[in-house]
Subunit: 459 residues, 2 copies
Amino acid sequence: MSVIKVLMIVWFCLLPLCSLAESIDESLQAEASELMAASLESNLGYDIVESLTTEVGQRLAGSEAEARARDWGVKKLEALGFENVRIETFPVTFWERHAEVAEITAPFPQQLVITALGGSVATKPGGVVGEIVRFPTMQSLRDAPMDGLQGKIVFVDEFMTRTQDGSGYGAAVQKRSGAANEAGRRGALAALIRSVGTDHHRFPHTGQMRYEESVAKVPIAALSPPDADQLNRALTHGEVEVKLMLDVTSPGERQSGNVIGEIPGMTDEVVIIGGHLDSWDLGTGAVDDGAGIGITVGAAKMIMDMGKTPKRTIRVVMFGAEEVGLVGARAYAERYKDQIPKHIVGAESDFGAGKIWRFETNFDESKLSIGREMQKVLEPLGIAMGDNNATGGPDMGPLRALGMPVVTLKQNGWDYFDLHHTPDDTLDKIRPENIAQNVAAYAAFVWMAANIEENFRQD
Amino acid sequence: MSVIKVLMIVWFCLLPLCSLAESIDESLQAEASELMAASLESNLGYDIVESLTTEVGQRLAGSEAEARARDWGVKKLEALGFENVRIETFPVTFWERHAEVAEITAPFPQQLVITALGGSVATKPGGVVGEIVRFPTMQSLRDAPMDGLQGKIVFVDEFMTRTQDGSGYGAAVQKRSGAANEAGRRGALAALIRSVGTDHHRFPHTGQMRYEESVAKVPIAALSPPDADQLNRALTHGEVEVKLMLDVTSPGERQSGNVIGEIPGMTDEVVIIGGHLDSWDLGTGAVDDGAGIGITVGAAKMIMDMGKTPKRTIRVVMFGAEEVGLVGARAYAERYKDQIPKHIVGAESDFGAGKIWRFETNFDESKLSIGREMQKVLEPLGIAMGDNNATGGPDMGPLRALGMPVVTLKQNGWDYFDLHHTPDDTLDKIRPENIAQNVAAYAAFVWMAANIEENFRQD
């Protein structure tokens, strides 16, 4: 057989494969590119974040402010032209802070800047006073003997590593969830942690903690980074005594809810995107997660403005009560569990307001080529191909667990944990041009996902 | 006459002038250079700031903490080997904050981050509620009619310009001193200002204000920059109502004091340097003005460690109660007014912890050449020649007014007003190598000033 003949056979064998791989046809690619161009010229996403953070401000899960945020969400989605706009309610355990004070009482009397972790119990009204015992890492506290911490205040001083992809968070957050339990197990009076964050400002970072059953509940608070430094320096002089007063309450169940709006498609299949509507109480929840609301609502609105009906319904969800344990996401998954096979793909934006730099998928291996095609369309936005281990964002977790494919349009999180869960999470930290790039990527991705023939599961 | 002869005559004429201009002889220059080299290798200045800010923390004028700072000062100066270590006390009007809360009550209920200005009166216990009237600049409030602000809350929104030399402060600080008076004159309920600062963090900047006599005293607070932005955005939606509660007290006179230490010279002439010991109560007073204390005490100690007796006494003063109106500096000037002619030159370090980039003088015109000689010695530190309008630093003001020559070793203040008077003024904001450069410059300058034949006044 001549070389030419071999090559021709190879060519004809590969041709159908190439055709098969072309899931995104030229006209769909062109529409996606037009959406990107239009989105980059639009301030819509930023305007939505501005509206939410100004007109509502902080939106603590279960609070009256979160209820106002739902009303805002319904009005905003209706004003923008979404259909099937609705609130789907669910109960949430409410927790709120009233006052929080800490001070070094000896040897160098001075105030410390702290904040209670969400879910913490209160101290007794006058506060508790105890000697500080420092642990450089969470592991060193886990390894500590069961004896010796009775009546003391545990201080876990572990640092967080700054990374672009947020990978430092997983390790650092363990002290937030675990320090009170390890302290309580050992009879300690209270626990303090160096804030889970990467900045050097005098803001403490709050965040949810959870008590294990059968462990004594001890109050826990986070120190701002400069105050953790200060406590360290004081400890170099010898024994340090701290007073901690947390006035926090958990008055029981309140109502939360997911706010939903749609661009109805021609089938009963759904592409789901969103962010979370609740925020911590200290800032105005601009980067966490007003940005995610603005980006995903903005992207869907850009699609709506094209005036074309998608094949699949595009559903935008503003999840409630994310911060206190993905309560809204779990409620959504429970309510729609029979329809998850019709949920083609999902993506939540909940990693701040940095530009997207990577397109990650969680598709069946047989559908990875579609992901690569999508990334090629997004590439002009500066978006590279990532791996196939996408989480899809926190609120996609329960749906992903039920088998729904997800993507992560991964944002640059280099500065995210400077602001995360602090009073400094405010609108001025957001660059409108970054939001526009995010809107462009979401609009293009969603439009492609809503209109291709294939889905992302095993056939 | 031949050309050679002309040149020789010129040469001989200029020679005495050159000699006259050489105030700093070679051995003195060499000693100054050795001091600079040694200082750049030393961490002494930083260690002093660390000690003060850790072992005392905030040092509000007239407070028990400021008294502890004086004790710290005495112990530190004695431990370092200074002589004639003493506290010179004086009374100061004490003012302190207890609680401060502000919130938008309508149309978008939410907390605002504020702090009372030093000297402000309290609101009534439950707070005051009023409609916000915004003024883009202090001048626009001055220009406002006397009618129309009754029962309203004035909001002066003027921005501050970021500059290397701090020249944006003079204009911006006028709203801090003046807004309450203009508001009170017009029957307003209270006043809010955008913080006098250049950052975008959720820290309010405090600072002293003063009521004019015969004007109704209205409470005044500063909004953090993001909260001033937020108030602005809320105002674009229409009328905004704010509640302000300031619980502050001014319980009368307390004791403050200047802490002084010396390296005795061979004459009764004095070179005076220093910083101020008090700080605002929100941070730990690291850049304002722990740095100045560390730099000037550190510089004198570097000189002491040379083991040579200076011609003139080197006096280091830690001024008390600077922040509330140069009270310590005025007390010093009053006490030493008869000895001011013996005060050869003075310099205070009170502009943060940036590197020194300019050497400014306030000398008699006939002595400007000595300033240029000094700058030449300092030049390897990256210090250029400035003008002859040096202030010498705030606490040198009263002495300068009595005719004492001063210099300003001008620090780079680009970031200074990001931290100034905020909770974020903490040790971690200081780079040890910057302090070392400052110590080097002060040590060299002081050694030269203490040992040259001339002084800086008119002969």
